[in-house]
Amino acid sequence: MDVKAVRDEFPILHQEVNGHPLVYLDSSATSQKPRKVIEKIDEYYRGYNSNVHRGVHTLGTRATDEYEGAREKVRRFINASSTQEVIFTRGTTTAINTVASSYGRANFQAGDEIVITPMEHHSNIIPWQQIAKETGATLKYMPLQPDGTIRLEDAKETITANTKMVAIMQVSNVLGTINPVKEIARMAHDQEAVILVDGAQSAPHMKIDVQDMDADFFAFSAHKMCGPTGIGVLYGKKALLNDMEPVEFGGEMIDFVNLYDSTWKELPWKFEGGTPIIAGAVGLGAAIDFLNEIGLDQIQDHEHKLAQYALERMNTIEGMKIYGPQERAGLVTFNLSDVHPHDLATVLDAEGIAVRAGHHCAQPLMRWLEVSATARASFYLYNTEEEIDRLVEGLQTTKEYFGDVF
C-alpha cells in the first residue's frame, strides 16, 4: 500500500495545526474523507439532486439509481445475500435502537436474558437497558479477562437457554480487542438466541462477511469508513426483518394508507420512513469504492503494523500505561503518569497532534479499568510510522512540560 498516494487523496490532511503539520490520530471517532467521496456528494447536489422512488422525471430516476446502487455496494461490501437485508439508517446508534425497539419489544419478556459485554459503547448498552426495563428482560454481562479480551468458555457460560439476544462489538473502540464474534454467534444460535454485531469499529478496517460470521444483525456507520456523517447501515437476516415492525412511520415506507390502518412496503423500505439520506448513501457508495480499490486486507495489514509499532515505541516511555491486549486493531488507549488525558491532549494539540481524551462513550469500561478517563490514538489507512514518531515525541514533551508538577 502506497501511503503517500493514499494521503494525497485526503485534502484535509495537508494543513498545519498550531504551526505544525497535522497528525490526525482520531479516526476511531471519525475518519477523514477522500476527495472522491467529497466530489461524489458535490456531484449529487449539483447534478441530480431529487427525491427517490417517486419521480417520473429524469433526475429522480438517476437519484433512485444511485441510491439503490449504493445499497448494492453495501450488500457486496458485507456479503449480504440480498439488498432487502440492507437498511440505511442514521448510523450505528439508530441501527441498534431499531433492533432493540422492534425485535426486542416483540420478542423479549420477563425471564429472558440479553447478553452484552462491559466493553460495549454506550450505543450498544443503553438501548438494551431501556428495552430490558420495558419488557422485564434481564441484562447480563460476559466477564472480561484482565487484558480486555473475552474467553470463549466465559461467553459459553453466560449465554444460556434463557438468552434471547447477544449484542457485542466486533472491535473495541477503547481496547482494540477483536472479539471472536463468529464463535459467539454459534453459541447464541445453539441456545436459539439471535446475535447483533456492532461493526462500527470493524467494518472500516477489515473484510466483513455477515454470512460467514452468521450475524443475525450487523450495524455500522459510514463516517468512520471515509464516508459522510449521518448515514449508517443495519443489516438483518431477511426472515427476521420480515417479521419485525417498523419503528418509524410516514412517507416512503408505506404500501397502502387507509383512514384507520396502513400496510408497509416490502424490505428494506419499510424501515426507511421519510425521505431517505440520499446524499449520504451516495457518499457511502463512493467510500466503499475507495476502500475496495485499496483493499480491506491491505488496510488491515497496514493498521496492524502501525498498532504494533505504536505499542513498541510508546512502551519505551516511562510512566506509560497502555490498556488492552497486545494483538489488537489499529488503536492504542493509554494514560501517561499522572497527567490527566485532557491536559495531555491539549499539549499534543499544541504540537498539531489530534488524539481523543475522555471516556470514549464507554463509562462502564472506564470503571472496569478503574480510571475516569484515558487518551486514545487511533489509526487508519492514511497514518504513517512517522506520525507515530511525532506522537511519541509529543508524549515526551508532555512529560517534560508537566514534569515539575508530578
Partner: protein
C-alpha cells in the same frame, strides 16, 4: 502554537492549585452537597457549602478531573469562603465573562488567583473544565435559596 501559548493556559499558580489543592475534602456538620459531571469527558466534581446568614462560611470540593477543572475548583472555594452569597454569584458571573474572553472591569470584585485562568478562554475545548465547579456552586446556592 508554541509553549508560550501553552503557558498562558497552564500558569504556575494553576499548577500549584492542582498539585496542592485548597479546601479539598468534606465539611463536617451542616452543609449542602452538589455533584456535577461533565458528561463529555468524565470529569466529576462535588462541591460542599455551608451557608449561614447569607454568608458562605465553608466551601470544600472533591472529585476527579484535569488540572484545569480541579485547580478551578480549588480557587473557587478559596475565593468564595467568607464572602456573602451574592458576591459569590457575582464572581461566578465575572468568571463566566472571563471565559468568554471579557476583561475584568475595575470596579469588579478582586478575583485573586482566579485571574490566572483567564488564558483558558483561548482554549475553547477547555472552558467547560474551568466552569464546572462554578456551575456546581451556583446550583447549590440556587437550591439553598429555594429551601
Amino acid at each position: 502554537m508554541s509553549f508560550n501559548n501553552l503557558d498562558t493556559l497552564y500558569r504556575q499558580v494553576i499548577m500549584d492549585h492542582y498539585k496542592n489543592p485548597r479546601n479539598r475534602g468534606s465539611i463536617e456538620g451542616d452543609h449542602m452537597t452538589v455533584d456535577m459531571n461533565n458528561p463529555t469527558c468524565g470529569d466529576r466534581i462535588q462541591i460542599q457549602l455551608q451557608v449561614e446568614d447569607g454568608i458562605v462560611k465553608e466551601a470544600k470540593f472533591d472529585g476527579e478531573g484535569c488540572s484545569i477543572s480541579l485547580s478551578s475548583a480549588s480557587m473557587m472555594t478559596q475565593a468564595i469562603k467568607g464572602k456573602p452569597v451574592d458576591d459569590a454569584l457575582k464572581m461566578s458571573e465575572i468568571f463566566s465573562g472571563l471565559m468568554q474572553g471579557n476583561d475584568i472591569e475595575e470596579e469588579d470584585i478582586d478575583l485573586g488567583d482566579i485571574e490566572a485562568l483567564q488564558g483558558v478562554a483561548k482554549f475553547p475545548a477547555r472552558i467547560k473544565c474551568a466552569t464546572l465547579a462554578w456551575k456546581a456552586m451556583e446550583k447549590g446556592v440556587d437550591e439553598e435559596k429555594q429551601d
